[in-house]
């Protein structure tokens, strides 16, 4: 076979593979959206679910998912950014550092159902948190924290060495150099990384089944006192998220329109995750342009 022919064949095969992947994505998205979008309306997004009657919505679930995401980020962003700074700037290259890095890798690739069971045994029962948003947020922290550490570490490492040296050469301390010079440059990458990682948190179900629970109390959206049991803001109440809701009504839903609700909720979930992705790209691009604007 001539080299030219081999090249032809390889090109065709590679293009076919790329098209195949695109086809899978388009097919999947199209299927979910076409099946689900017809069911999505303002009423669907805001009303409460029905157990046996048709016409239920996903309002509390949508709120729970977003609130849980916020709680998780409140825990993981400070910890993850702090640990990321340590790993990139302070940690010496030795076996202990390599060990930490290994632990972080392993943690992020844990099966989520195992984390869910761990959450049930340790957080929900042993520490007595019960099925609660807080227990759910801690379970999600197990996935999200390693990602945040890695995102921050890589973002800070990618800051040009000369920027750091220029600051140190002016007689600035290491800490001031990190906070005033390096973090602002690393920020777009940290931000986009965080938003992308949020997508995973938002869509997670298995880890939440036994931690955040599969039910929501009757939420009173006029009661914003975080200590009241039926307040949406109470972090110690059970909270069924959108992804868990999809799983639940698909497996044990009694409402006659359970299939449509699941389809609609899936469409909403996918759209929100896509929104995260586009926002991340947009913000990353915007900040990048702003930094190098007039160049």
């Amino acid at each position: 076979m001539s080299a030219k022919l081999a090249n032809r064949i390889a090109t065709v095969v590679i293009i076919a593979m790329a098209l195949f992947i695109v086809a899978i994505l388009v097919g999947l998205l199209g299927y979910i959206l076409i099946r689900g979008l017809g069911h999505v309306s303002f009423d669907f997004l805001t009303s409460v679910p029905q157990t046996i009657r048709a016409g239920g919505g996903i309002g509390p679930q949508l709120f729970n998912s977003l609130f849980l995401l916020v709680l998780t980020l409140l825990i993981t962003v400070p910890l993850g950014v702090g640990a990321g700074i340590y790993m990139s700037e302070y940690a010496k290259a030795n076996r202990f550092t390599d060990f930490i890095r290994l632990v972080v890798e392993v943690l992020s690739s844990f099966p989520s159902i195992v984390v869910g069971l761990f959450g049930l045994l340790v957080l929900v029962q042993f520490f007595g948190l019960g099925y609660s948003l807080f227990a759910g947020a801690l379970a999600l922290t197990v996935f999200n924290l390693p990602l945040m550490v890695r995102i921050t570490e890589q973002a800070i490492r990618s800051v040009p060495k000369e920027q750091k040296e220029a600051s140190l050469a002016l007689g600035l301390s290491r800490w001031k150099t990190i906070t005033s010079i390096m973090l602002p440059i690393a920020m777009p990458n940290i931000l986009t990384g965080t938003i992308l990682a949020s997508g995973r948190v938002f869509g997670e179900a298995a880890a939440l089944l036994f931690t955040a629970g599969m039910s929501s109390p009757r939420l009173d959206f006029t009661n914003w006192n975080p200590f009241s049991p039926n307040s949406p803001l109470n972090p110690f109440r059970p909270a069924e998220t959108l992804a868990v809701h999809i799983w639940k009504i698909n497996s044990e839903g009694l409402a006659p329109d359970a299939a449509e609700i699941a389809a609609g909720a899936s469409a909403v979930l996918v759209i929100v995750v896509l929104l995260f992705n586009f926002t991340a790209r947009f913000i990353g691009g915007y900040i990048h342009r702003k930094f190098t604007a007039s160049k």
Partner: protein, 252 residues
């Protein structure tokens, strides 16, 4: 030892087991320009970077010997390297302005060192930019991004930035090698100007540049100092044959 100069005594730098700089002793006088020349990998940049202990940042680098500034050995572990670096300005091969406005690039250092008064900061920004011959070009756009400046302007901004924290010594690592001839000429003029107040140590690959701007020239080869003498003499009648061979282009 001169009042505002710098002296290196038996300075060695090791990367792991490899000795990149070998027992170099050199004096740099105030109000003089010393050029460090030599082929790539001869240790001149490593030597320069060890003078303000920038090599501390590289894992596995070890420096032995003494570096004297104002009667103080700064290669002593007890010396606060953060404060020390304020006395020694540094300019890099590629212009590396901060991703901030022109004004902030200059004011950043002094503000950190305790100058909060707006008027005083304005004064420092203006005088630093004037010293770096950049004031006329930038006075109307001080609050625009420094990244919008041309490469040559950025490099002068970096020089101004280092002047703002009032150093007595300025280290320059091939400051003009990434610039066009016109910008290079401006940087060279600037160095001649700054020589009146500062001790300048410059690494350069450009032999003509070394001959044009420096008072003294030190020739490095394989981590060792071959010789250091008046530039005039180095380029016309060096005492070592190796120096003659390098300068006349027979190797390197």
């Amino acid at each position: 030892m001169s009042d505002n100069g710098l002296s290196a005594r038996d300075l060695s730098v090791y990367y792991g087991n490899k000795q990149a700089v070998k027992d170099i002793s050199l004096d740099f006088a105030a109000r003089e320009v010393t050029a460090l020349i030599g082929p790539s990998g001869c240790g001149k940049s490593t030597f320069l970077r060890s003078l303000n202990r920038m090599n501390d940042l590289i894992g596995g680098a070890r420096i032995t010997g003494e570096i004297w500034i104002e009667g103080q050995n700064i290669n002593d572990p007890s010396v606060d390297v953060v404060l020390l670096r304020q006395k020694i300005g540094m300019v890099w091969q590629r212009p590396n302005p901060f991703h901030k406005s022109i004004y902030e690039n200059i004011a950043f250092g002094p503000r950190y060192h305790g100058i909060k008064n707006k008027k005083e900061l304005d004064g420092i920004v203006e005088s630093s930019l004037r010293k770096a011959a950049l004031w006329e070009e930038t006075k109307d756009r001080l609050h625009q991004s420094a990244l919008a400046l041309s490469g040559g302007q950025q490099q002068r901004l970096c020089i101004a930035r280092s002047l703002a924290v009032k150093p007595s010594i300025i280290l320059m690592d091939e400051p003009a090698s990434a610039l066009d001839p016109v910008s290079t000429a401006k940087i060279e003029e600037l160095i001649a100007e700054l020589k009146r107040d500062y001790c300048i140590i410059i690494v350069t690959h450009n032999m003509h540049q070394a001959a044009r701007i420096s008072d003294k020239t030190a020739f490095f080869y394989m981590g060792e100092l071959v010789e250091c003498d008046d530039t005039q003499k180095m380029f016309t009648n060096p005492s070592k044959k190796q120096t003659d061979d390098y300068i006349s282009g027979r190797f390197g």
